[in-house]
């Protein structure tokens, strides 16, 4: 029969399905036998954790949507209805609420891994850029999701952030009216945020699919930053990294559960348990913690338009990172100068987060400005220069070579170091 795929599965049902739609073959190739560098550390588990977080967020979100009412006069009460009247509503809500934080924790660590080990460098530039796109979608989704409970922070955070667009010359005010669907953040705004908040996660799923496809074309990076030279440098994804990722997942879920069951409001703002009041502004308007660094950058520039440009610029800058970093060496393990400068960069990011939580006055403003300056300096000045002046350490011959016994070449392979596990079909 023309057109049928030649499936190699023995089970007749699976063979029938696979020859018409080779998902089983695809799964076996991409997640079963896929040759993966043998030297992954646990930083490489965070992409998988992000996938788990996304799936749980969609699942809990869909069930919350069965009870939530997206109307300005009923939204807040509907959330309390979920907490008090819906069976396990409190659990589903707290999992979803803290899941937003867990998703960002995991994605930020995933990104810092990329920055440290040079995973954004050729040939993975597009992979990195797709990742930045996912981050932007996540930020939009999270921002709109936070508006839905219609608490004080929901309302005023929405007001502040949507007002930013009025900084755009000429058309700014019209754009803001269009975004609001009215003359202030109100019912129309809430309704469209609900629609988009339901939609974007599925867009994220699509972009994540592209992200994984791009990854499978180039193959993964690894802590040494050198490409695999042959089968001795790789192991099949299953069972080695499936089980390793499962260990990471257990730790991840335990932390998530600890938050949900013992400190569900630790990362939240108490002001959001006050129903939105358009006539009363809270003393300190702050977004959720994962948006604080960008909030700090925004508020460190005294000019409204340039503040907005700086804030968006700080993320858009990431798109061109592969071309800003001029070093031919990927992993920071072999880049002594880059390693030194990596530390103040991470510190600057953390400091920006802390600054974002505090009022933009006095010392906080000064510290925020210094940290903002360092952030941009790191990408625009330090990275391009380091590549030119750094003397990298010598790279190993291969991924396998550093773990061989002393004095052994390819003849000193440890017994268990073959690419395939002992189980044979």
């Amino acid at each position: 029969m023309a057109g049928l795929y030649k499936s190699e599965f023995k089970n007749p049902v699976i063979n029938w399905l696979d020859s018409r739609l080779p998902i089983f073959t695809m799964m076996q190739r991409e997640y079963g036998a896929f040759p993966t560098p043998r030297n992954f550390n646990y930083f490489w588990s965070f992409g998988g954790l992000a996938m788990v977080a996304l799936m749980v967020m969609i699942l809990t979100g869909v069930f919350l949507a069965m009870h939530y009412v997206p109307a300005a006069d009923r939204a807040f009460d509907s959330v309390e209805h979920i907490m008090r009247d819906v069976n396990y509503g409190w659990l589903i809500r707290y999992v979803h609420m803290n899941g937003g934080s867990m998703f960002f924790i995991v994605v930020y660590i995933h990104m810092f891994r990329g920055l440290y080990y040079g995973s954004y460098k050729s040939p993975r530039e597009l992979l990195w850029m797709i990742g930045v796109a996912i981050l932007l979608l996540m930020m939009a989704t999270a921002f709109m999701g936070y508006v839905l409970p219609w608490g004080q922070m929901s309302y005023w955070g929405a007001t502040v952030i949507t007002n930013l667009f009025s900084a755009i010359p000429f058309v700014g005010k019209a754009i803001v009216t269009w975004l609001w669907g009215g003359f202030s953040v109100d019912n129309a705004t809430l309704n469209r945020f609900y629609s988009l908040h339901y939609l974007l996660p599925f867009v994220i799923v699509g972009v994540v699919f592209l992200h994984v496809v791009a990854l499978h074309i180039t193959g993964s990076n690894n802590p040494l930053g050198i490409e695999p030279t042959g089968p001795q440098d790789t192991i099949p994804f299953h069972p080695y990294y499936t089980i390793k990722d499962m260990v990471a997942m257990v730790v991840f879920l335990t932390l998530w559960a600890a938050l949900v069951f013992f400190a569900p409001n630790l990362l939240g703002n108490p002001d959001n348990y006050i129903p939105a009041n358009p006539l009363s502004t809270p003393a300190h308007i702050v977004p959720e913690w994962y948006l604080l660094p960008f909030y700090a950058i925004l508020r460190s520039i005294p000019n409204k338009l340039f503040g907005v440009i700086a804030m968006f610029g700080s993320i858009l800058l990431l798109f061109v990172l592969p071309w800003l970093d001029t070093s031919p060496v990927r992993s920071a393990n072999f880049r002594p100068l880059y390693r030194i400068f990596f530390i103040p960069f991470v510190i600057a990011c953390v400091v920006l987060g802390i600054v974002g939580a505090n009022p933009p006055q006095g010392s906080w403003l000064l510290i925020g400005r210094i940290a903002t300056a360092w952030y941009f300096l790191h990408f625009l000045v330090i990275l391009p220069l380091i590549g030119k002046f750094e003397r990298p350490l010598p790279l190993p011959e291969s991924i396998l070579q550093p773990v061989l016994r002393q004095g052994g070449g390819s003849g000193g392979l440890p017994a268990g170091a073959t690419a395939a596990p002992r189980e044979v079909s």
Binding site: L59, H67, H81, G89, G416
Partner: protein, 188 residues
């Protein structure tokens, strides 16, 4: 070690040769199944009626304003409930019916509260496919038996709300109710 592994491989996939791995796989799968169940149950249960819906499960109705021969519809648990004040003639018609003639035999006494024969309280949902039968308004057709007439498929109910003719299999359901005073009832 690679050698001993090779000699223990049988033609039938070698599964008998690795009891420890099989055990671990079994335990892991069982654990995963428990995990999936633990996650699925709260999500499924969240779709069950919420506590506020369960709390609003009774309705009070005042019968005093209803004159004889007329009826009123109230809502109980989201369903219509017919409250009919029966005339003497309607009560007699209901009591005189030979139970053998009924598709769903039930005496009139079993369908009303003793001492309150003139009050018929039935759920106004046709037992065929769920339409609301006509007969409460004075202008409604009541069918051949003076009760209710369902316009969807022609089921006809008598003055006791029992099915007499048509595709409906059962009498109109009597909800749980009680008289709190001579003229007030609490349904549910």
């Amino acid at each position: 070690m690679a050698d001993t592994a090779a000699t223990t491989h049988d033609a039938d996939h070698g599964s008998d040769a690795m009891p420890k791995r099989d055990f671990l796989k079994l335990v892991a799968t069982a654990g995963a199944a428990v995990g999936v169940g633990a996650i699925a149950w709260p999500l499924i249960d969240s779709m069950n009626p919420t506590r506020d819906v369960l709390a609003v499960s009774s309705t009070e109705a005042d019968l005093a304003p209803i004159p004889a021969g007329q009826a009123v519809t109230v809502v109980w648990q989201g369903k219509p409930v017919f409250l009919r004040h029966r005339t003497e003639q309607e009560i007699k018609e209901a009591e005189d019916v030979n139970l053998n003639q009924l598709p769903d035999p039930q005496s009139d006494q079993a369908r009303v509260k003793s001492g309150h024969d003139q009050w018929l309280v039935v759920i106004g949902i046709c037992t065929h496919l769920g339409c609301i039968p006509l007969g409460n308004k004075p202008t409604d057709p009541r069918g051949e038996y003076g009760g209710w007439f369902c316009p969807c498929h022609g089921s006809q109910y008598d003055t006791s709300g029992r099915i007499r003719k048509g595709p409906a299999p059962a009498n109109l359901e009597i909800p749980p109710y009680a008289f709190t005073t001579e003229t007030k009832i609490k349904i549910g």
